[in-house]
């Protein structure tokens, strides 16, 4: 049945009914086009928002605040701050945690950074080495802070891209000294990050900060990563750590403001789930748009069958079998949906590419596009749907009785 004759027969029929063929094609074209645009946009939205998760996905942040619940004989309003021994306590008691680090934020404004005649108020962050992993720093020049810097109290700094641009203005910063409130720090590395807000700062060793700007043993916020633990495992671990720290600092475990935590993985997974939901939603809308297009094809094919009743009657009278009539109609629907669907696919993907290459990436939208598998899936869907769209009209056509069709009006 798939011999060349059938194709020629159908193509010549389609050629001689151009408007009808075009209208039928357009509904499928449009369905596929919209499906592609919707899926691609959903993808772009997801990529844009997910891009904001620039820190390590498995990072956990913990900070101290003021107590609000009296506990173990202490009054409320007591300030809780983490010190060196808290870092030691965590690293001794919890094997699962990696890249444990403190982080003291020395706000720009009170700290002036300068190089030669260039000044700037940048954020200074005193950290342990692990924080550089948690922050997902992208080193562009030199090196990161290392353990020797910590142990030997080296006055070194890793500077962000914007700091580099503003202070050094094209000069190679590596090996130069920046002054932070009059204290010279040797620049050992330059880093970049996806967010501009995280590249206008300098990182210096925690041990140095504890001797210069913040004398003492405070470490500020504690950050660490937790390997490839699941959301549940990470939540359990964070709860456990919080409980231990609460005991150590003698605060009520329910005191939310005394001990704060942020579990990036949980947030990340929630966001992922949200986008999964959005994608399913978008997919369903697209799918039904496509269905509408196919119902259109089916509908037009029904009209076609009605219009061609006499022709089908003639064909039957001169020896067309019901199967050949079914084949004729289904193949016509299949050809129309395949060609139109292919062009819809092409147009949709082209438009997405055009948007992707001409629209600047934002925090909400970047790189829209559908992956190859979805496109192939859609193509297969079109073929199946084309046959389904042709089936009902084809069956009706095959049931046409020649004597009824040929009756003279």
């Amino acid at each position: 049945m798939l011999d060349f004759g059938v194709w020629h027969e159908i193509l010549s029929t389609m050629r001689k009914n151009k408007l009808r063929t075009f209208l039928t094609s357009f509904s499928v074209f449009w369905g596929i086009f919209i499906l592609m645009i919707l899926l691609g946009s959903g993808n772009g939205l997801q990529k844009g928002v997910m891009h904001n998760f620039s820190d390590a996905m498995n990072s956990v942040w913990m900070w101290g605040g003021r107590t609000t619940i009296a506990h173990a004989g202490y009054n409320t309003g007591r300030e809780i701050s983490f010190k060196n021994d808290d870092i030691e306590f965590l690293s001794n008691h919890f094997e699962e945690i990696e890249n444990l680090s403190g982080r003291i934020h020395l706000w720009g404004g009170a700290y002036h950074t300068s190089y030669k005649n260039n000044y700037g108020d940048f954020g200074i962050q005193a950290i342990h080495t692990g924080h550089q992993v948690t922050e997902n720093l992208q080193l562009t020049k030199g090196r990161l802070l290392n353990l020797t810097d910590m142990e030997k109290f080296r006055k070194v700094a890793v500077i962000g891209r914007i700091v580099d641009e503003r202070l050094f203005k094209g000069e190679d910063p590596i090996g130069k000294y920046v002054n932070i409130n009059g204290i010279p720090f040797l620049v050992v590395g330059v880093f970049d990050d996806v967010h501009d807000g995280e590249v206008d700062r300098l990182y210096i060793p925690m041990t140095v900060a504890q001797k210069t700007f913040r004398p003492g043993t405070q470490v500020g916020t504690m950050t660490f990563t937790i390997g490839d633990a699941s959301v549940e495992e990470s939540e359990a671990l964070v709860a456990e750590i919080k409980e231990q720290l609460a005991k150590k600092h003698k605060v009520n475990i329910d005191d939310q403001s005394a001990l704060g935590t942020f579990n990036a993985m949980k947030e990340y997974r929630q966001m992922q789930a949200l986008f999964q939901g959005i994608n399913i939603f978008v997919g369903i809308i697209g799918f039904f748009t496509l269905i509408a297009g196919l119902v259109g094809v089916s509908n037009i094919m029904l009209i076609v069958v009605k219009e061609r009743t006499k022709e089908i009657g003639i064909r039957k009278a001169i020896g067309a079998t019901p199967a050949s009539i079914i084949g004729l109609i289904i193949l016509e629907a299949l050809i129309i949906t395949s060609i139109a669907g292919y062009f819809g696919l092409l147009a949709g993907i082209s438009l997405l590419e055009l948007i992707a290459s001409n629209m600047p990436a934002s925090d909400f939208f970047r790189n829209p596009g559908v992956d190859f598998r979805i496109a192939i899936g859609a193509a297969v869907l079109i073929m199946i749907a084309g046959m389904l769209a042709g089936f009902v009209p084809a069956r009706r056509a095959s049931k046409i009785k020649p004597i009824v069709a040929l009756r003279d009006e």
Binding site: K16, I314, I318
Partner: protein, 231 residues
């Protein structure tokens, strides 16, 4: 060629049953040229549809070329129509978007003959009906007589045993009608059985045998002078 006995056919529409053929007995030999006459409602078209396997009958027996035609599947009926029978209709029933040659070639398409070959054969048949020059014209560019000759070429191309013509001259003027009848006579002379349904006396007189139908029964039948002159 065709042998019919005690053939009954009713049309049921809703609660009403219309008894159209009320026991037809008829034999048509190979090579005959027969006209079936009768007023409208006499059952002549129904009889032709039954003979042409376009419609099923209720009771009785119908043998075509020695084979009993009953409990036909659509596919089987389509095969017999394609192989044994050629149809000619009052309103020509050509496919409007196909040209004359493609229309004539269509039965061969259903015999799985390749396109080039069937177009070549179609040209031969167009030549036989004198319309080779019109091969690439669509039906709406042709006159009634030309259309009917193309329809006849189409009916002949599958080399049928029987040509069934339902009022073939009904839409034609007298002069053209006679030309078409001449064509039928030539076909008949080539040995093909021709059965023509008509209500025009002068047309029926150009066949060799006339069967009169009235109210679903054969009223009378007789051979024409034409037949006698050949005998």
């Amino acid at each position: 060629m065709i042998s019919i006995s005690e053939l009954h056919k009713s049309y049921v529409t809703g609660l009403n049953s219309l008894h159209v053929l009320k026991g037809i007995n008829l034999t048509i030999e190979e090579g005959e040229m027969v006209s079936i006459m009768g007023s409208s409602g006499s059952g002549k078209s129904t009889l032709l549809n039954v003979i042409g396997l376009l419609d099923a009958y209720d009771t009785g027996k119908y043998h075509l070329n020695g084979t009993l035609m009953e409990n036909m599947s659509e596919t089987k009926a389509a095969w017999y129509r394609n192989q044994m029978i050629g149809f000619v209709f009052q309103s020509f029933n050509l496919i409007a978007f196909k040209n004359a040659m493609e229309n004539v070639a269509l039965p061969l398409y259903y015999q799985k003959v390749g396109r080039r070959k069937r177009n070549k054969i179609a040209m031969e048949y167009l030549e036989k009906v004198g319309l080779a020059d019109w091969a690439h014209h669509t039906p709406n560019e042709l006159s009634g007589g030309q259309k009917q000759r193309i329809a006849i070429a189409r009916a002949l191309i599958s080399k049928p045993k029987v040509i069934l013509a339902d009022e073939p001259t009904g839409a034609l003027d007298t002069h053209t009608s006679y030309e078409v009848m001449e064509l039928f006579k030539e076909i008949n002379n080539a040995g093909i059985t021709v059965i023509i349904v008509t209500h025009e006396k002068d047309i029926s007189e150009r066949t060799k045998r006339i069967i009169h139908l009235k109210d679903g029964l054969i009223e009378k039948e007789y051979k024409t002078k034409l037949n006698l002159s050949y005998a």
